[in-house]
């Protein structure tokens, strides 16, 4: 006790010994108390409350501070970064031209297929099919284009490194739109409005009237120099080929300018996140109790956020989630392993002469790509924003509904374990039926269809409407 007199000699040593025993007892008791307390909390799953996080009114689940911080990092969706390689990325005139081209079936060799054929606004910018069908059937599922511009790599295998260069591949793919860059250039040239819209952004087209210099169709065909398209292409001068490549690239840039506007960023989940920060019960009610339980699972025990993290709910990278192929007779799909090889070889990648300005970050990503065993059979993590709008799911549309997806991760039934690398953290989650329903409810809460309606349909013209006259403005002239 404070103020006790110091004792000397034998009684002092005895006193010291008693004090030491007392300290041992005190320290042991203290440590034991801590251990017991920790043990009492041991069954606590991540996300369950601690003393510091009393439940809020309107909050149907208890979320600890760490999970709340984690949730907060998933909203809001940030604005898009500038696109140095695409000088017209944010030009409304380019977006209008790109929107026109997106819906233009005249860009296909058959005149029957447009970008919107596989990326239908009415179907979540997907197509509702397991495998895409353009001119003929492809081997993968059409991805949704919601928030597509937030990606780092494009296609399921990431074989394009920019949104504008991605747009070019379907144009020339024989199964998709079956066209050629020369044909695309001629399409622009022959339509007065397209020609004018193009010129306003990129300058005049090459003299495509000269059929000798610019055949009706032609493109490089890797591995098949005798293909008619390749022969036509090879017959052109180098300067003319580069001029057509430039037109082709510009078409991609206009398409990208339109697709950059397909953003979905204010879902009930985003309102809920605001509610957490503001402790606003009304905003918290944006998610019903089932969706809130699903949220707690998503960011907690189920660990979905390990791959589906960030404001887009995607790490933008590639994983093999062992999902079995749609059918045994489909070609073996190497996924990202193939994509790495193709993006390096892409004539329109970040290192190409067709970038408007060098994007150093994109160049660094490209130059540091690694050939790793884990890329084999890996596919890009899709964003979960608006995921409810575009079934089916997975790279071959193997799973029809969101419930099927959640049940797949619950059991990993029929999972295909590769001979090489597998994602070691992927283990059956063993969700109850209620938990399945809750997770689906949460995924559905990531839906925002609030994009401007005109973005969901073709414009009447690729050119912007003429400015209204004063009389028209006063009379409340016709809407565009």
């Amino acid at each position: 006790m404070k103020g006790a007199r110091r004792k000397s000699g034998a009684s002092g040593r005895e006193g010291h010994a008693r004090a030491r025993r007392a300290r041992l007892a005190l320290g042991g008791a203290l440590a034991l108390a801590v251990v017991v307390s920790a043990a009492a909390r041991a069954p606590q799953a991540e996300g369950e409350p601690d003393a510091a996080s009393a439940p809020l009114p309107g909050l149907a689940v208890e979320l600890d501070a760490k999970v709340r911080a984690r949730i907060a990092r998933h909203s809001p969706l940030p604005p898009l970064s500038p696109s140095p390689a695409n000088a017209v990325a944010d030009d409304p005139r380019a977006a209008r031209l790109g929107r026109f081209l997106f819906f233009d079936e005249g860009l296909s060799s058959t005149g029957t297929v447009s970008c919107a054929t596989c990326h239908d606004p009415a179907q979540g910018f997907g197509d509702g099919k397991s495998l895409a069908v353009g001119i003929s059937r492809l081997d993968r599922h059409s991805q949704s284009l919601w928030n597509v511009a937030h990606n780092r790599w494009f296609f399921w295998d990431g074989r394009s490194d920019s949104l504008w260069s991605q747009a070019l591949q379907p144009l020339e793919d024989a199964r998709e739109m079956g066209s050629t860059r020369l044909a695309v250039a001629h399409r622009l040239h022959k339509d007065a409005a397209l020609r004018a819209a193009y010129a306003a952004l990129f300058g005049a087209l090459p003299p495509l009237d000269d059929a000798a210099r610019f055949p009706a169709a032609g493109r490089p065909v890797p591995g098949d120099a005798e293909h008619p398209h390749a022969r036509a292409w090879a017959g052109m001068t180098e300067a003319d080929r580069r001029a057509v490549d430039r037109v082709f690239a510009n078409v991609g840039k206009a398409l990208a300018a339109y697709q950059r506007r397909l953003t979905a960023s204010r879902s009930p989940f985003d309102v809920f996140v605001e509610g957490l920060a503001e402790e606003d019960p009304e905003k918290l009610a944006a998610l019903d109790p089932s969706a809130q339980r699903g949220l707690a699972l998503f960011f907690g025990r189920a660990n979905c956020r390990l791959c589906h993290h960030g404001p887009t709910f995607s790490d933008l990278e590639f994983h093999n989630n062992l999902v079995p192929p749609l059918a045994a007779d489909l070609p073996l799909d190497k996924g990202r392993a193939d994509g790495i090889e193709r993006v390096r070889a892409d004539a329109f990648n970040a290192l190409s002469e067709h970038v408007d300005a060098r994007d150093e970050a994109a160049v660094l990503r490209l130059e540091t790509l690694k050939d790793a065993p884990e890329s084999w059979g890996a596919f890009k993590t899709p964003s979960l924003r608006n995921v409810a709008l575009s079934p089916p799911y997975m790279h071959q549309g193997q799973l029809a509904t969101l419930e099927d997806v959640v049940r797949y991760y619950s059991t990993l039934e029929d999972a295909v374990v590769p001979r090489g690398h597998r994602e070691r953290i992927l283990v059956p989650q063993e969700f109850s039926d209620v938990e399945v329903a809750d997770l689906v409810a949460f995924l559905e809460s990531l839906t925002d269809e609030g994009v401007a309606p005109e973005l969901l349909r073709a414009p009447t013209s690729p050119l912007p409407p003429p400015p209204k006259t004063t009389a028209e403005s006063e009379a409340g002239g016709l809407a565009r």
Binding site: M1, G28, A31, V34, A42, D315, R365, E374
Partner: protein, 201 residues
Amino acid sequence: MRHPDRIRRSRTGLAALLAGLAAACAAPADAPADGPGESASSAELEISAGSSRISAESSPAGSSSASSSAAPVARGARDLHADPHADEHAWRRGATAGGRWLVLWRPRPDPIPLNAPFEVDVRVLDPATERPVADLDVKVDAAMPAHHHGMNHAPLHEATGAGATTARGMLFHMPGDWELTVDVFAGTVSERARFPVELDG
């Protein structure tokens, strides 16, 4: 999926026990205390939810305090070898496996961001003199041991001085436990230093 926090919580309990016992046994540097009234050594245990961070301070009466607090948890990432007395952009340090070299490293930006590119500066020193060692090759890499995969990028390396290298194009694309490795090569000899990094997200 495995929960590293469960492992950390069990370690928390054990470490707490050891810390408590250690603090209880600590005696004042000078004259022995007189009975239970004297201020006993105490251990402050700071356990944050879901982590194993422990800060133990032992401040017996009459002695200088010998605090060894763990490094402050930085947003997004923390690594377990951070030097708490370093400047704002802390150099982490550790020896290579055979003790031949002392490796210092720091990320830029700091803390390491989740799923965004960062760079790593490395300094290789002689452990005896802590002077830079020249004529070395250094390679930085990282992996997630529990996941059995590494980064999706192989960083570019640039020598920036004697024993100094910068690795560009690093990307930790997933939250969780990473291990950053620094391989040092001198002729036919090479040794590795390992640094665990925990990335939340």
